[in-house]
Structure formats: C-alpha cells, structure tokens
Subunit: 438 residues, 2 copies
C-alpha cells in the first residue's frame, strides 16, 4: 500500500464500524460461555481460557486468517502481507482472566486485533508485511499460580524470559501441577522451552508489538477521553512476602516500653513509604504505593495480645527506574532503623525490581498523528499496570499500547467499556497497522 | 485470735513451708491430668476445668474444709470461723485456662488459698470469720465463648453482673451451646440467674476478696521482686471488631490521589494512638496500647490491589479513668478526621469502656506491713490484665491482689513460676487472712 492508494480516514472509520459486529458477537459469546455466576472466569491454562482461544480461532478461520500455535499454547492469527519473510507486525493481548473477573481485561486487545484485520480485508489492503494477532496465555498467572514465578508466563515463555527452573517452580493454585505440566496437560509442549536455544519470538520475526487494553484505572473516564496512547508501563519494586516478627505478649500486663509490637512497626514503615511517595509526586516524579496485604496471624492474634507477627506486601511503581532504585535503598534502610529502635524484625525477603518499559517514541508519534486524522479524541497516559507489551519491550521489540476508557477498574465483574470507545481504539489500531510501513 | 496469741512471723513461714507439699502435689497432678501435648487445656465449663475443680475439692475434703457449689458451678472451700454468720473473707481465682495454656494462670490463686488454709489449721488458728476459698469458673471465657458477652462469666454470674440476655448470647466456640446450656450441661442451674432477685455473692456475705495470681508481664522479674502487691487493675477501652472500608482498586493503574486505601488510613490511626500513649506516659500518666488484630481480607487482598478493607482491634488500658475517657474522645475524633481526609470509613463499632478497679487501701497497707514483718520482698505494681478481683470491687466488695513473679508471660505453656516465690506470696496471704480482723 502506498500513500497514494491509502484509504481516507473516513474509509478507515467506516471499515472498522462495519466490522464491529464481529467484535460484538465475540464479546457476547465470550461472556456467555465463561460466565461463573458473578463475573467471568478464564483461568490460565484452564477451561475458560481454552474456550476463549477456541472462539477467537473460530472467528479467525471464518476470516480466512492463517492459524498457528506455539509450544506454550499461544494462538497466532495472521493476515498475510506482501513480504512473507519480513518480520511481522504483532497485535496481542491475553485471553485469560482473574477469578470472577470482567469480560474486557485482555480479551478486548485480541478482539480489537481481529476486528482490525477484518477492517483491513474490507478495505482490500494487503499489508507490506504479515499482521499477526496473538492470543496470549497466562498473563493473569498471579491469580492462578503460586510458588516462585514472575508474571505474564505465556509471553515470557516464548520471548525467552522465563527464569531457570520457573517452569517447575510455578505451581497451579488448585491442581498443584507445575507450569510445565499444565502446558503439557493442555496439549502443548513444555519440552521446547528446555531444549530450544533461541526464543520462539525474537526481533527478527516480530518487527513491533501493539496492544490495545482497557485502562485499569479511572483516568480516561475522569479526564473525558475515550482513548489513551500509552507513554510507558510503570516498573515496580515489590516485596511479595514480607514478614515482621515481634513478640506476642499480654496487651495489658506488659509495660509499653517492653513491647515488641509487629503491627506498630510495620505500620510505621508503611506510612514512611507513603510520605516518600507524597514527596516524590510533589517534586514531579512518578510514584504510586500500596500495601495490598497486611495481616496479623488469625491463629494467634487476639485483642488481648500485643501482636507478634504481621505478613505484608509492598508494591511501589514508577515510570522512573531511579525512583524505584532509590526506594529500594530507602525501604531497606528504614526497615533496619525501625527494627533497631523497636526490637522487632521486619524481613522484606527478596524485593524484586522490574524496570519500566518505555513505549516506542516513533510508534507513539505516528499514533498521535493518526488519532488527529481519524478524529479519535485521546490523551497520553502512563500505564500503571503491567502488560505483555513490557515483555516484548524487554527483549528489544518496540512496543506501543492503546488504552480504552473503562469506568470501573479491572479484575472485577463491573468493568465498563463502551463499544463505541472500543471502536475508536480499533480504528486507530487498524490505521496504524496499515500505515506504519509507508 | 488476739494479738497476744498470734503466731510469730517465723511460725507463719514455717506453717506455710510445711503445707507446701499440698501445693506441689496439686500443681503436679493438675498439669498431668490436663496436659494437651503442648501445654494444658482447661476450657471454661469443659473437661479440663472440671478436672481442676475435682482435684481441688478432693484436697479440701482431705483438709476437712466445708464444700459447697453455687448455681454457676463455682466451688467454695470453707475454713469455719468463730462467727459463722459474719460475712467471710474470700480468697479466689479461676481454674480454667486458655487453649494450650500454662499451669499457673488462675490455678495458683486457688491452690494458694487452700495452702494458706492448711497453714492456718497447722497453726491451730480459728479465724474470727469464715475463710472461703473460691474456685471460679470461666474467667478465660474470651477463649471459649463467642457472641455478645463480657469477661469473667463465672464471677460475674454470681455477683449479679451479667448483662440482660448474656446467658443466651454467649455461645461456646466449639459446641455452639449457650452459656446457660453449658452451665446446665455441666450439672448446674442456670435458671437461678433468671429467677433470683439478688446476687449469690454480696457485700453482706463477702467481707473482702483476695486473689493471688502470677504476674502476666515481666515487671517483677525485671525488677527482682518475688512478690507484688497490686495497686489497681487497669481499666480498658476496647474496639473489639473495628473495620475500615476503603475501595479495592488496581495498585498500579490508579493515581495515588484517587485511592481510598484502608491499610494506610488504619495504620495512621494506630500510630496516632501510639503517639498519644507516649505523650501520656511522658507526663506520668498510665497508659498502654496494642492493636492485637490488623488484617486485610484474605479472600480479596492481593499485592496488585489497593487494599479495600481492614479488620482491626484496639485495646487501650489505664489505671486512670480520665485517660480512658479522653482516649475514647480522641480515637473517635481522629478516626473521623482520617475518614474525611482519606475518603475511607473507619468504623469503630461500639467501643467498650471498663473502669479501673482500685485495690482496697486498707488491705494494701496491711499487706505492706505484713510483707515487711514476714521478710517477703515485694514491690507495688499495677495489674495490666483483668481479674475476677475487679468484679468483686465493682459490686462494692473491697479487693486486694498478690502477684507472683513469672518470667514468661501467661496464656502459654512456658509460664515460669518458682514454687519458692509462690510460698512467699502464700505466706503473705495466710498472714493477712489471719490478722485482718485483729
């Protein structure tokens, strides 16, 4: 396709709108077939995820797209380009969900990819290179797997990013089967990842990666934009299983100065981190913080005992690696000071630091131009949540993301994405895929 | 007995020492018969408590003491005095324990009473009035009963202190039987407490109440005294089932200023209370504080969610009613301020205020004189923990307490009371009972 023959923005809009029945049908069927009475459940390597893969594969087959799968069970649906040997444009997102999740987190990105492919077919565009839509496995693996493992197991497996032994140390929360066993049970081939010398996906077969996703925060809704062009994905500093040990004693009989109170010491550390966060934001730096878990031991705690233990988790995120590194130093040092003064033992265990993923500047600029041409009202927005896009970025594949406005957060049955907003995002996606090679 | 015929301090010491085999045998048998593999278990209205009552009753029978029981199952072992109609001296403590508890918490006081009675018999003293040792039921009811109820159910029942309906709203944690049903199942008569117009124990049949108990904190050990003469029992201000409601949202995707974080708001309140405690103590006021429970919801919490709920408990104690009242105002006001600023809802539910119980000044002065005469090294000490003595105080029966040094706290299998220390406390108790009427 050359600029001369390119469809007009109005033609792109019309082609996507006329392809929207495909998206609508897929969202409806997906919700019906994976409903769990509360929301939807599509467990990583579980029944609901497979239903989603089968549905998408069926839609892609109807569109005469080429279908393939990789040894981890990720699904590829390809619109052939002029140069079949050139590295492809990838459009991906995940098809699994959390337990009692919503219909859009993940699935919207895959459905947007297929809908964009259908629109390009409708415009009779043969792209310069293959456009492959990828239905990714196990992005929500933190819900479904326990043990020693990182996130995004499906994309990290095929990008060569799994840790040594992670295939065995990630264990399914219900069945106790390892990740390798889960892959094999589902009909795929975990041995590939032990035997292969090179990642299944690499910069020499993936030119760039695009992901459309519902926003998981309220910013677009709050600011009144249907679409966001993502500037970068926040990195994170995490203590997943931190633990404070104090001494259980009588809550009335022991003098205050002789207590070693695990709750008060941990609370102090949390408020100190919050204060750092407030200061960082006041000076224009990006940082958010939550302690999503903070719990005394239900077998031992009591109103008449000074609390002797607290389990907790820390999640600090920033688009700035320096902020995360400084906070790692701060948290470690501050915990040591509190331990000394209070006679307790705050043990952070291993803190993991995942660096931020900056979205490709060229892609972003192209998409910003496109949004204006296509009459898509957008804002630039950081992604607080992690996404498969970060993993592609981490192996040197340029990545970009489109967010769709969503009123009620994600990971719950109330996710509220409007199909009109989705169509605008898909319009921008289709145009971008068709025009980036110009 | 008159001053002229009173035994010398050395004779008191000798009589108690010669009676110590009774105490030693009781402690040994009690531990053997109620051992649970970890510590001892003597549940309120349960098997272990009954074993303890049977053992004590057997020892009292061997000493030819008079035995009786009340409708709540409390045990009375009486050494008859000269005036059988005069209100009696009472010596009491409880015979139940927590789950996996220690051998001394409660039982030491009853055994000290019987040992003191044996020593008085050995000294051939007929007291001016009856001396009754009371084995009390269900002081550890917070471990064994749930539902709406207060503490010390055994003593509060016979002192007329039960709340309306408490007999039915206290429910056994394992069997689901009400307190009334537990009493009846154990062979006693709960109907008495519904039908009787006056308390079973009153100032006109109990002249004064004495309780020996192991210290449940480390102060005597730390200060090097075997015995403490208790100045008063701390009152308490409690929020038993407080709950903070925030909003669960994504821990990366939602801007910090839009979060309603239940953990950080609750942590702030806890540290504010701790600061008040530090200031109160610095200005010479008595106050201790613990939040023994502080827990996010294990069904919903996650490192990737801003925490939307926290359950917690507050236990503030002081010997000064004014401190408790001021703290009630402070906590309520501070919670409201935090709620407003953070957009959360800290709900303290009902806070209960139990006023401190000041030990009788005359008894204390008498015991201080006695300790010096008897060569018992002691210090004045507040009781942080609650005791049955507070309930006697609350109905106008003067009360006093003797603490025995104990290295390892209470409510655990490691309670460490030395029998030599116990003998010193029992010496003081026996002398006090024999001489208060002079």
């Amino acid at each position: 396709m050359s600029l001369q023959t390119a469809p007009t923005p109005a033609e792109f809009a019309e082609a996507v709108n006329e392809s929207m029945p495909i998206a609508e049908r897929l969202f409806t069927e997906l919700e019906e077939k994976t409903a769990d009475g509360v929301g939807v459940t599509r467990g990583s390597y579980g029944e609901g995820e497979q239903i989603a893969h089968d549905l998408l594969q069926g839609a892609a087959t109807s569109l005469n797209l080429e279908i393939s799968k990789d040894p981890a069970g990720n699904l590829y649906m390809t619109l052939p380009g002029e140069d079949r040997d050139a590295p492809a444009w990838f459009v991906g997102s995940h098809l699994d969900s959390v337990y009692h999740g919503g219909n859009f987190d993940g699935a919207a990105g895959v459905i947007a990819g297929v809908t964009a492919q259908a629109a390009l077919q409708r415009l009779q565009i043969t792209p310069a290179r293959d456009i492959t839509v990828m239905g990714i496995r196990a992005e929500e693996c933190s819900t479904w797997f326990v043990g020693h493992h990182g996130g995004h197991l499906g994309s990290r497996a095929v990008l060569g990013l799994l840790w040594p032994g992670e295939m065995e140390s990630a264990v399914h929360v219900h069945t106790g089967r390892t990740l390798a066993q889960c892959m094999d049970d589902a009909g795929f081939d975990s041995s590939y990842f032990r035997e292969s010398n090179q990642p299944y996906l690499r910069p020499d077969n993936v030119k760039g990666y695009f992901e459309l996703h519902i926003e998981q925060g309220p910013v677009l809704h709050h600011e009144g934009f249907p679409v966001g062009i993502v500037t970068g994905i926040r990195g994170c500093l995490r203590a997943r299983s931190a633990y404070t040990t104090g001494v259980y004693t009588h809550s009335g009989a022991v003098p205050q100065e002789m207590r070693r109170d695990a709750v008060l010491g941990t609370a102090e550390l949390m408020l100190d981190i919050e204060k750092q966060c407030t200061e960082a934001r006041a000076s224009g730096r990006d940082m958010v913080f939550a302690a999503g878990k903070f719990f005394t031991d239900s077998d031992h705690h009591s109103i008449v005992k000074v609390p002797g233990s607290v389990g907790f988790a820390i999640d600090i995120r920033s688009q700035d690696t320096v902020v995360l590194e400084e906070m790692q130093t701060y948290v470690t040092k501050r915990a040591a000071e509190i331990n000394k003064r209070r006679g307790i033992e705050i043990d952070l265990n291993e803190m993991s630091l995942v660096t931020p993923a900056v979205m490709d500047k060229g892609y972003r600029a192209h998409m910003q131009r496109g949004a204006k041409l296509l009459d898509v009202s957008y804002m630039d927005i950081p992604s607080g949540a992690g996404h498969d896009a970060a993993d592609f970025h981490d192996v040197g594949i340029p990545a970009a993301m489109i967010f769709i406005r969503n009123d009620h957060g994600s990971h719950n049955p109330d996710e509220a994405m409007e199909l009109d907003d989705f169509a605008l995002g898909t319009r921008l996606l289709a145009w971008t895929l068709a025009t980036l090679d110009e």
